[in-house]
């Protein structure tokens, strides 16, 4: 074989690679939605003169190629493999932590202006709620993320943003008696399974501990673990963090706490759909298994429980609350919750239209710092 033949083979290889991938990418079936990443994928954009000259088309077309690239999930896994081979302890802002935990770093979430603004929105809201519902009846609970509570599992010398600084700031901005320190509760249980390994949520056990402590503070008899039958409903859960790194990652299990003595209840979704079960079992067949709790996020969910309690609770919440709220069905006869990301009515009108006795604001820390919808508290 001569030099010429060698060069021909190199050229051939190159052409096979670029044409092969180009054709595979063009002809592979297009996906609307990525289950893994839990988001809609970019589609072929419409070409128009206007879109072309504004540069919109170029931008959309590039997202389309990237999103629809053939074997996308495997490529991402390969990249993570390369990062780990280089002994990197993180990839895409995610730590490869001990015991198979993937822990989000949340770089930058807490130092943006929005993080500060949201504190003042919340402080204003809690002041109003304390005046309206009385001492001890309005609570704000911002749950720290795994990166704060599971510090011991982080790679050696990792020093992510200290969320307790941010939580302290919130606590100081809030009116006396409205802050609930969920971090202190969780820190008692760091050797237990309180966060998912592959998902950004807390596990049901963590929600239970925090609920028990909060219920005690609200004057209820705190539930004990023996009041529940803990069932593992799946052991094949891979959550949102797994989707960001791909590759060889383990599985999580999801547990639910079934009360041994359960009161009958009805749950109404978005004022039009009644259900008699807070669990959406079909979610276990999908990638987004955390949607088992109430079928994911909705603008409004209204739960009515026949437990004879005189306390009625309104919760303003993000998805961390979904596994927390089932516990409230024991102590409150009304458990309503709105998700500001989807709720576009006047919160005041909604609230005043129904006679609540208690208000709870429940978010996870990074979600709270980043959410542009916290401003809707003023509505």
């Amino acid at each position: 074989m001569g030099q010429k033949r060698q060069n021909q083979i190199i050229i051939f290889l190159f052409l096979v690679l670029i044409f092969g991938m180009a054709l595979a990418s063009i002809f592979a079936p297009k996906k609307e939605f990525s289950d893994r990443e839990n988001r809609s994928l970019a589609q072929m954009p419409q070409l128009s003169l206007e879109a072309y000259f504004s540069g919109e088309f170029a931008k959309d077309y590039e997202s389309y190629i990237t999103d629809q690239f053939v074997g996308r999930d495997r490529w991402i896994g390969l990249k993570t493999g390369a990062e780990r081979a280089m002994l990197k302890q993180e990839s895409n802002d995610i730590y490869f932590a001990a015991d198979g935990y993937l822990i989000e770093k949340h770089t930058g979430s807490f130092t943006e202006k929005r993080a500060e603004d949201n504190i003042s929105y919340l402080a204003g809201f809690m002041k109003e709620m304390k005046a309206r519902y009385g001492e001890g009846r309005a609570t704000a609970m911002i749950v720290p993320n795994a990166v704060e509570i599971l510090k011991d599992k982080l790679p050696p010398f990792a020093s992510p943003y200290d969320q307790s600084v941010y939580l302290k700031k919130i606590e100081e901005a809030l009116p006396e008696g409205t802050w609930f320190d969920s971090a202190a509760v969780l820190r008692e249980h760091t050797d237990e399974e309180i966060y998912y390994r592959t998902d950004h949520h807390w596990k049901t056990l963590a929600a239970y501990y925090v609920y028990a402590a909060w219920a005690k503070e609200k004057g209820f008899e705190p539930p004990s673990l023996s009041d529940y039958e803990v069932q593992t409903v799946t052991e094949e859960f891979q959550g949102t963090i797994e989707a960001k790194v791909g590759g060889d990652v383990g599985f999580d299990s999801i547990g639910i706490f079934k009360p041994k003595k359960e009161f009958p209840y009805l749950v109404e979704y978005n004022r039009n759909e009644m259900k008699t079960d807070i669990y959406e079992w079909s979610a276990l067949e999908t990638k987004d298994k955390y949607a088992l709790f109430f079928g994911g996020n909705h603008p409004i969910v209204e739960g009515t429980v026949k437990n004879g309690s005189g306390r009625r609770l309104l919760v303003i919440k993000d998805s961390y609350a979904n596994s927390f709220l089932p516990f409230a069905f024991r102590d409150f006869s009304q458990v309503d919750f709105v998700d500001l990301r989807y709720f576009n009515e006047s919160l005041r009108e909604y609230r005043e239209g129904r006679d609540y006795t208690d208000i709870l604001f429940l978010y996870n820390a990074s979600g709270f710092a980043e959410d542009p919808n916290v401003a809707k508290l003023k509505n």
């Binding site: 290889l13 000259f53 390369a82 280089m86």
Partner: protein, 474 residues
Amino acid sequence: MVFSSLLFMFRFLPVVLVLYFAAPRKVRNLILFVFSLFFYAWGEPRYVFLMLFSITMDYTMGRLISKFKEQGKLKKAKFALAFSVTVNLGILAFFKYADFIIGSINGGLGVSLPMPGVPLPIGISFFTFQTMSYTVDVYRGATKVQRNWINYGTYVSMFPQLIAGPIVQYKTIAEQMMQKNRESVDDFAYGVQRFMAGVGKKVLLANNIGVLCDTVMAMPMENVPVATAWLGAAAYTFQIYFDFSGYSDMAIGLGKMFGFHFLENFEHPYVAKSITEFWRRWHISLSSWFREYVYIPLGGNRRGMAKQVRNIFVVWMLTGIWHGASWNYVLWGLYYGCFLILEKFVIGKWVKKLPGIFQNLYTLLIVVFGWVIFKCEDLTLCGSYLKAMFGGYGAGMFNTETIYLLYNYAVLLVILVLGCTTLPKRWGERLLTCFREGGAVQMVLRCTFCAGIFVISVAYLVDATYNPFLYFRF
């Protein structure tokens, strides 16, 4: 459009290659021209018209200059040249420097003239310098006039070197432009390997160390310990070299595929033993341009020391501001001007007497500080960064984060250090010579090299959270 993107590798390049090589030789330049315009227009189509105007103007002036010279009308030829240079510099001044100039006047005199706010056309510094080199060379008789508008347009707009250089002077490729059978299998194969090397440098090395640089730059400087500040500065030093020389590799490789031979733009600049040597190895096409079209016409070193010092300062101020319309670039240029003059007249002979490794360290130290000035467009940030590097904030020598960053990037840093030297090239060549020239083992090695870089780079591009284009200010 940038080379290191899925769009370029899996849409643009395959289409260009098919049409170019399927077309009869007569129209190949036209195909290259049309696709280069499309390449340039991607994302920001309006400035294509600016480039077409510039092409047409310089094409016309080139022909006029040559005609006047043939007729012996040197004055008219000179006038046509002056017109071309004025218009080119005018375009550059308006589209690149208007905001900077007016902003500086406003700041200096305390007035508030309205800012034009023109968005910067990408690659404008590269293509205006190319077109100017053409009309000047036609006037000087250093190259023949190009009578075909399409060929001339192809030269100016040619996508491999359009947006990030190298600055290809017309005379370098004048002959190849007209040559009918310029492409060859050997050149194409070399181009493939060179392009892949460039992709790897950009996507795998520069982008990854860029993350470290940005991590450090994002920290509040008062809390940054000395070692972290140095780590960040080193990271940028690596990033800009592997990014820029990676682009040049890709450009040279792509040029070869189409049968064009661009000159080398980087020759392992970080092994230089003096600043003078560094600038003979860094962005060679830019320094040659300034030498040829500014320094020497100003008299170079032939008119006494005072004039030479002046000429060096003029060239380096221009070099600085060529990199971006901002004071830090001016400062960066003058900084190098000072060191070059110092080396020439004062410390040069002492430096030469140092042991080799100290010559390297001396050079690198100046280069690293230079990159800090270059990186920080905000001069206050530049000041605080330098302060952090000297421990001026009392944030200590290092902290846990320094250790974390160091061991996370240790493998990459070792690769980068080696990559700056001539070792990988020498090892590669030695490895290849172990086997028969043109033999199967050699082929397998070369193919593995290309395919390996290709596959890992694609993985990084598919999950592209960080793929910056550093030259949008040039």
